[in-house]
Symmetry: D3
Subunit: 148 residues, 6 copies
């Protein structure tokens, strides 16, 4: 029967012991999106407010958040991440967000990739909320998780 | 014409000046959900792994994240939050998450409520990912924002 | 009947709502001690290793920790502290630690004072552990808590 | 003659150079206790306030604090911890706390285990202080420290 | 005779007590510069690597650092900052950096403005160091400090 | 032609992928100075305010900042630093600051050494600003960077 590795036999939270695992190269890719009004994205593309700092701020916030994952998610292991990329693709009524994280470690980095996506989305929301009150963050999910 | 308050006239990011606003009581409520397999939630309800620490960990991570909002979201103002509540409602194929934040301040707390929901969802994801590889975080959005 | 204010009616953790309290000047004083071998303290007083940086490091770590209290203790309110003092008094077989914290706020600062004492004690322990393997941290407690 | 490794020849604080040590598996176990009134613990065991979130919050705060040790204790090395467990055992007039930390590293993890115990104790104190004004944190000490 | 307010009568560090000061609007402006080779700045202006994210990253890092000032500088008071602006002006052989911070508080914000400038400069250095090994950070200083 | 490794082909910020580099021992040394009035330094050397905690606070803040480098500088890799030393040399009209950092890692530690120098300088500035309004932080630069 399946069980939750983050709980011990009595149901108490613990940071899982990975000390007997071998460090190998691991990679995770996560995605998500900020849904917003077409007008909001039009504002980002044209006019006096160049999109530069909006997307740059979200990329940078996502990268910094990946590094803070173990401080945010109680049972995550702290890992010396070796690569973080956050990509943003504005469309007609949404901005797609994708993050990739790599590390040589005893445990995977899916939470780091998911955290990068979540905080990039929150940062976009924060910067656009003055002009769009109906946005939502959607479909944050893991796309790929690999060991090499 | 609408413009993005987080950018100056040249499109450069800035933390908006709120020094001429009057501090008043503000409240924001945000929601979202973690979608997962019914089997995952059944595991949480029954059997040897009591759900206690899973939901408690997510509540606590959400509360702590609300307090870190201004460190995570680059242009958010640091605020001495006066109340944070995170509620989790497990259903058949999802766990609904709601967060309420209150403060007397010169600016609102919607980002704090949204951050609490996002990190509570990520924490649930982390604790359940060992038994469910197809989860997603959905519909993170603002429900209410008020000044008193 | 007494109840725990940090839990709601269902026993769920929350950061207590203090938005209806009036901000007043509050002060808390906490104390504790690091028990160690007389030889360890003799080393601190005499010889080639001047005590300067040992005690200074502990004072500074205690002050910095007081400011991080709400990040460490999940249900503590973040507060813009107005005064922090950490005092260390080496004796024959112990170093006494006392911390005082002040703030105008809607809630008290006893956890900030207790956290300052705890982290100052841990820092002393860390700096002395190379020469003394039998130390312990004792009697961390609140001495005074006042509103003005 | 003994000397303090955290100070250089002039008594100045430094983070000790461990670059010539070999990384090996290291483990530390620390313990401590929160002393409180029997009534306080009775409240935790029975009645309307289920103990769930009180103990869960302390376990999680202890785990998270272990990961923040190098940010709290000035001369501690940052380490990618591989296992953290915090155990709480409520008795008649005290809650016993024990923490175990593991890592492959060039230096030990006793400060991480002691920090986990201290912050778990502070979190219990915070959650119970509304009903018990005479608590104290006692006997925080190292139980075991091993290299494999 | 002049004395250092951050030390008590025995020379011990303390966070100065400001609890008897009246909160008023305060503003500080600091400046500094990153000196680099003209070729480095030419690379930033032209060619395939648009300067967008380099300057945006530095602005955002400066803003975020201002909010972390009290965690970085041991005796600084934590303050709920109300405005932070970081401006970068690339010239022929340097990038000039200026930061302005505002808050209603019991103490000033010059350290916040100086910290924003310092971390913006470090971020520029980090992004340009691959192509320029002779850069330096210079003349970080306070330009203005006011109470209203 | 030279290019900035921290930007991808479209000029977007990323944390550079170092996963194919071999971890080796790396060392960096950086320096800088706080320029101040001779009277300020005389105050530090003589009289009732012993310099102990001023210099100790700056050393400790520099050490702690080196450990926070990857949280401050957006594209820096988090690294488990193995040695940090900060040295302060007060002269006639300046305090010289030097920092050395060591680690076995896939990438270098010059930003960690530069960050230690910057934050030590800011801490000195903070402690002396009450008696000297004309100070400046100067010539923060890399002295050496080596792989072994």
């Amino acid at each position: 029967m399946k069980k939750l590795s983050h709980l011990d036999a009595r149901g108490h939270a613990r940071m899982v012991n990975v000390d007997s695992k071998i460090p190998v190269l691991r990679r995770a890719v996560a995605a998500g999106e900020l849904r917003c009004a077409p007008d909001t994205l039009r504002l980002l593309r044209t006019g006096k407010t160049p999109k530069g700092d909006v997307l740059a701020a979200a990329r940078i916030a996502g990268i910094q958040a990946a590094k803070q994952t173990s401080a945010l998610i109680p049972l995550c292991h702290p890992l010396p991440l070796e690569s973080i990329q956050v990509e943003l693709a504005p469309g007609r009524d949404r901005i797609r967000i994708q993050a990739e994280v790599r590390v040589h470690a005893r445990t995977g980095v899916e939470m780091e990739a998911l955290t990068a996506v979540s905080v990039a989305a929150l940062t976009l929301y924060d910067m656009l909320k003055g002009v769009d009150r109906g946005m939502s963050i959607r479909d944050i999910r893991l796309l790929r998780k690999e060991k090499f």
